[in-house]
């Protein structure tokens, strides 16, 4: 009897130790590899570089430099505009497609949804590569145009500028925007549309007054996906932006490579992070309001 109780007690402690261990792991890993790096990274933005060494001493110089030097704020501003533009393009293109998909049913819906989802799983770098191989100076489009005699010299305004970056970002991120829009549209109960028609609304009125407001939250999520990913990207601008495609992401990246000023790069990233957090919070607020009523 006594031994049985002892065994039970031992099992109990065993289980408790196991539990504590698992809980420690559940917290430990994300803490160590997400939170600690993030804190170190924020901390780094308050250090500075002397010669090629990072001096671990507190300074606000990096932030002062961002606000005082004339180059950074304009670049930050038009990077925002660029990402906003890319987000707008994706919404304009993705919303109609999502609406069409949501209006379908059965096999066609499934097949067509797949057509628009598959690019989501296709390599990002490959898409940039493919776009560049079409638009580039020595690219497919130029060579074809020269080939059929429309032009003698390659057209250069197609690539290596900010418009090319915006369009490429929009193309790459289009499926990201489409997916949340499609999901919210698809969740709108059919009965609501029926009810709207039943009450005398036309197709357009139903869209304006029922479908659009109910899909606003998903549209916002999709657009902010694209916006945030566009803001921080440095590979796309480098690949299709060329010398003229300087974006905030590239400036940050160059601080860690070419310029070798990590603390300043970190400061720039912290500014980006704060801005992104602000945008996401704002979007989240609207999203919450959208879903609280449903």
């Amino acid at each position: 009897m006594a031994t049985a109780e002892a065994t039970l007690a031992r099992q109990d402690t065993g289980e408790r130790v196991m539990r504590a261990l698992l809980t420690a792991l559940a917290y430990g890993a994300p803490l160590l590899f997400i939170l600690v790096p993030l804190l170190l990274f924020v901390l780094q933005s308050f250090f500075y570089v002397e010669n090629t060494d990072i001096v671990h001493r507190f300074t606000l110089a990096n932030y002062v430099r961002f606000f005082s030097e004339a180059t950074f704020i304009p670049i930050f501003f038009y990077t925002c505009l660029l990402s906003l533009g890319a987000a707008l393009i994706t919404v304009v293109l993705a919303y109609p497609v999502a609406l069409l998909l949501a209006s379908l049913s059965g096999r066609i819906k499934y097949a067509l949804t797949l057509v628009f989802i598959v690019p989501l799983l296709m390599s990002y770098i490959i898409k940039i590569y493919a776009i560049r191989s079409i638009l580039g100076g020595n690219g497919f489009l130029n060579r074809m145009l020269i080939g059929i005699g429309l032009i003698d010299q390659p057209i250069t305004f197609l690539i290596f500028n900010l418009y090319a970056v915006m369009i490429t970002l929009a193309l790459i991120l289009l499926p990201f925007t489409m997916l949340p829009i499609f999901i919210t549209l698809d969740k709108i109960p059919r009965q609501l549309i029926d009810a709207s028609y039943d009450l005398g609304a036309t197709g357009w009125q139903t869209f304006r007054r029922v479908i659009l407001p109910l899909s606003l939250s998903g549209t916002l999520v999709g657009a902010s996906f694209t916006f945030v990913l566009g803001l921080g990207d440095f590979v796309t601008p480098q690949m299709v932006g060329g010398m003229n495609g300087l974006t905030f992401g590239r400036i940050i990246y160059s601080q860690f490579g070419f310029a070798f000023n990590w603390p300043f790069g970190a400061a720039l990233s912290v500014i980006l992070l704060i801005f992104v957090a602000f945008v996401l919070l704002l979007a989240g607020r609207v999203f919450m309001r959208g879903s609280a009523t449903s």
Binding site: L35, P37, L93, L100, V118, L121, M122, G232, F234, I252
Partner: protein
């Protein structure tokens, strides 16, 4: 949702345009893996698999492909273990800290990848960890963890608590309940999470670029060789990757579908 005839026509036109935008560039790449441009015109008689044979003799590509697979599988394994662990903790614990934990897990997914990459870069430098394949694996794991966690948690939530009560009521221990009742119900969630995590890892570029050592993953190799110009064997590689990712997408969709039935 029903749409009127003209509305469907207009939307279909836009949809066709979008399909052209999404697939056009890829189609061009695929096309030029089989054909060549000669004197600024397509040489229609140049059809060959030369690009593919060049590709299979390019050790650098094959090596980076292998590296990518190793990194992907490691990241999948790690993120499955930790994602599941954290999902269970979130489901079972009543501690307020679990919301904080969830937020931290979501961070790398919410932030621009450059920030995740940079913070890891700084972290490894401050802790004197050499950049290597291991740091890449950690970077990828951190990035896909949120997806795995979310998928597992969603399935855990769909599990009725009464199922667990029933198992305990029938005399099973907690461990037996976990093994015999909970795990079998999570299998399909694990599979979908693994596929999605692998696809994300396979494609990951921005974080990798910041934490990679000397060994290249495929996107790294593509990135560095693309700066030199376009070669048919890259087109061949692109074609193969597109083929396999399409297959993977189909498999994933098939798996996601029955999930909605449960």
């Amino acid at each position: 949702m029903r749409l009127s005839g003209p509305a469907i026509t207009a939307l279909s036109a836009i949809a066709v345009f979008v399909v052209l935008l999404l697939y056009g560039p890829l189609a061009v790449a695929i096309f030029f893996s089989f054909f060549r441009l000669e004197r600024n015109a397509v040489a229609w008689d140049s059809f060959s698999f030369d690009a593919y044979s060049t590709l299979f003799h390019n050790d650098a590509i094959l090596d980076s492909l292998l590296t990518t697979l190793v990194v992907g599988l490691s990241a999948v394994a790690l993120s499955l273990v930790f994602g599941t662990l954290i999902a269970f903790h979130y489901r079972n614990s009543r501690s307020r800290l679990r919301h904080v934990l969830q937020f931290v897990v979501f961070l790398p997914f919410l932030m621009p990848p450059i920030i995740t990459g940079l913070s890891l870069l700084i972290f490894f430098r401050e802790t004197n960890v050499q950049r290597s394949l291991l740091t890449v694996v950690i970077g990828h794991t951190v990035f896909v963890l949120a997806i795995v966690y979310q998928i597992v948690l969603t399935r855990l939530r769909a599990l009725k608590p009464s199922l667990i009560d029933a198992s305990l009521d029938l005399g099973a221990s907690r461990w037996q309940t976990f093994r015999l009742v909970i795990m079998p119900n999570l299998t399909s969630a694990f599979v979908s999470a693994a596929i999605l995590a692998f696809a994300l890892s396979f494609d990951e570029t921005l974080i990798t670029l910041l934490v990679t050592g000397t060994k290249n993953t495929l996107p790294m190799w593509l990135w560095s060789s693309m700066r030199l110009g376009f070669k048919p064997d890259i087109n061949a590689l692109v074609t193969l990757i597109l083929f396999f990712s399409t297959v993977l997408a189909f498999v994933a969709m098939r798996l996601f579908r029955p999930a909605s039935r449960t």
